[in-house]
């Protein structure tokens, strides 16, 4: 098509706006009607429930409008989502951790004696907030580094447990590649698979050798090239399974739209 002129562009824009507007009005009218209908049938309960579902539908459709083009409704909803998430997250930390795990222990609750030593938690606790000052940011490093230190100590033991305990990753790379039965040795399908497994592990591992020259080392050159191909197989399988996951998400939204909101599917 020839490049659209300014006028055509403007016309198309206003046509788009019109379509947007019509859809929006239809949705709102539908929701209003739905709410009124239910409030007549079930009183306030029905009204409130349908209102909720209607708002959910607006949120869903509003976000999907982004697939067509970035627009103000999307932008608005994007901000609402941030607000709700942070508000919720903050509230939950208060009610699930600070109240039961700290305040209750400090002031005593349900028969537990009060223990004001817990007040000391405030000292490191406040340190987090020096993040906000450019000048005194170093104070926050005390508590941050303490947590990084505990995490580091933990990761240390985690690695070894993960590798070398009975069900460890290294231990379990030990796989028979010959099967003995009735006094003779066989190379079964399982043995073949095991062999594949070990070869792939070694090749992939060799791809991640960084401080050796791959070009001059014939073994490393071959195995790391193969390793890259094996990685591609791995990425392919990940891509394949993920398609399923992403579709599930969309199916879930459609269940909401068709079943919960419009009530047109079984």
């Amino acid at each position: 098509m020839p490049a659209p002129t300014e006028l055509e562009k403007k016309e198309r824009m206003s046509a788009e706006k019109l379509v947007f507007l019509i859809i929006a009005v239809l949705v709102v009218v539908y929701i209003a009607g739905d709410c009124i209908l239910y409030s007549l049938r079930q009183g306030f309960d029905g009204f409130w429930e349908r209102l909720g579902v209607g708002i959910g539908a607006i949120c869903t459709i509003g976000i999907y409008s982004f697939l067509y083009r970035e627009n103000p409704i999307y932008r608005f909803l994007e901000h609402i989502l941030v607000g709700l998430s942070v508000g919720y997250g903050t509230g939950v930390v208060w009610t699930e951790v600070i109240q039961p795990q700290w305040l209750d222990r400090m002031f005593g609750a349900e028969g537990q004696p009060a223990n004001y030593l817990w007040l000391l938690v405030l000292i490191p606790g406040i340190m987090w907030y020096f993040q906000l000052s450019r000048r005194h940011v170093w104070i926050s490093r005390f508590v941050i580094m303490f947590f990084m230190g505990t995490g580091a100590g933990g990761a240390f033991r985690g690695t070894f447990q993960f590798f070398f305990s009975e069900r460890g990753q290294v231990i379990q790379t030990f796989k028979p590649i010959l099967t003995e039965s009735a006094g003779s040795l066989h190379f079964t399908w399982l043995n073949f698979s095991n062999l594949v497994f070990i070869v792939v592990v070694l090749c992939v591992l060799s791809y991640f050798f960084f401080t050796f020259r791959h070009e001059t080392n014939p073994v490393l050159r071959g195995s790391s090239r193969l390793g890259r191909y094996f990685l591609m197989v791995c990425f392919g399988t990940i891509f394949g399974t993920t398609i399923q996951g992403r579709m599930s998400l969309f199916i879930d939204r459609l269940v909401f739209l068709y079943h919960d909101w419009l009530g047109i599917s079984g």
């Binding site: 976000i63 982004f66 970035e70 999307y74 932008r75 994007e78 989502l81 941030v82 998430s85 942070v86 997250g89 993040q131 906000l132 450019r134 940011v137 941050i144 990084m148 995490g151 240390f156 033991r157 070894f160 447990q161 590798f163 070398f164 305990s165 009975e166 290294v170 231990i171 790379t173 030990f174 796989k175 028979p176 590649i177 010959l178 099967t179 003995e180 040795l185 070990i198 592990v201 070694l202 591992l205 060799s206 991640f208 050798f209 960084f210 401080t211 050796f212 020259r213 791959h214 990685l231 791995c234 990425f235 392919g236 990940i238 891509f239 993920t242």
Partner: protein, 260 residues
């Protein structure tokens, strides 16, 4: 659970080369070679193109928080920001973690100051957006509104990787990505122009920063991986021996030793 004796020995075996090589590298002893990382040269190319087009670049640290991963992402950010500052480009940096946010802001400020263009630095271009999908939604919005010419994704990414990368390719940005999270690599590979795979991310940081600690550590890690590879091969050989001569001296010997 407490360590078995073998674990104790292995702890030493794996830790020693890492510490040793870090100390050696910091003392400046022995040059350590790092193999070139394919995607890295693309950073310059991407910034160059943004300069030609006169549009901003976007650097996303994904869901990185305050960890080595996140700090590596910031280290690469310093490099990119310096390039951007050199060419008078605007760089937009959305950050997800409140702990990483001030660190990223400082890095960008420093980068601009380094090339003597502190006046070009705008604090509001380093943006804090918490939460996974709020973050994705926010960054996508920025990409569309600012029509960014180049995007960089370095750090830890989860499902939002493809949302971001697709949005970037829709606005026609040239994209470079690198993440240690292997599950997201397929999506970066399909939607980005250059992708740094898995652990290459850390090697890339070492390559860019020339930080002796990182380089020495890489060398030590390679030794550790060699040990693991050798162990794997040994287990294979012993497995074969076991099949040929079951219930003899060799049977399960290594395995027993490892689990003791």
């Amino acid at each position: 659970m407490h360590a078995t004796y073998t674990m104790l020995i292995l702890t030493a075996v794996f830790s020693a080369p890492i510490v040793l090589y870090i100390l050696r590298a910091r003392a400046g002893k022995g040059e350590i070679y790092i193999r070139p990382i394919a995607g890295l040269s693309a950073i310059d190319e991407a910034v160059g193109r943004a300069t030609e087009m006169g549009r901003p670049v976007l650097y996303s640290t994904g869901l990185s928080y305050l960890s080595i991963e996140g700090l590596c992402a910031v280290a690469i950010l310093s490099h990119v920001a310096r390039l951007a500052a050199k060419y008078d480009l605007r760089i937009i940096v959305p950050v997800n973690s409140y702990l990483l946010y001030p660190i990223a802001e400082e890095a960008v400020r420093e980068a601009y100051a380094d090339v003597g263009k502190l006046d070009l630095f705008k604090a509001e271009d380093v943006i804090f957006i918490p939460g996974q999908f709020p973050y994705a939604a926010g960054v996508v919005g920025i990409m569309h509104r600012e029509r960014v010419a180049a995007t960089f994704f370095f750090g830890y990414f989860a499902a939002e990787s493809l949302i971001l990368a697709e949005a970037g390719s829709q606005v026609g940005a040239i994209q470079v990505a690198g993440t240690p999270d292997i599950l997201q690599i397929p999506f970066f590979i399909t939607a980005c122009d250059y992708t740094i795979i898995g652990e290459e991310f850390y090697a890339a940081t070492a390559y860019l920063t020339h930080e002796p600690t990182m380089i020495g550590s890489l060398r030590g890690q390679d030794i550790g991986k060699m040990i693991l590879a050798t162990l794997t091969i040994l287990l294979l050989v012993f497995g074969l021996l076991m099949a040929f001569a079951p219930k003899t001296f060799f049977s399960n010997w290594l395995l027993d030793l490892l689990l003791r």
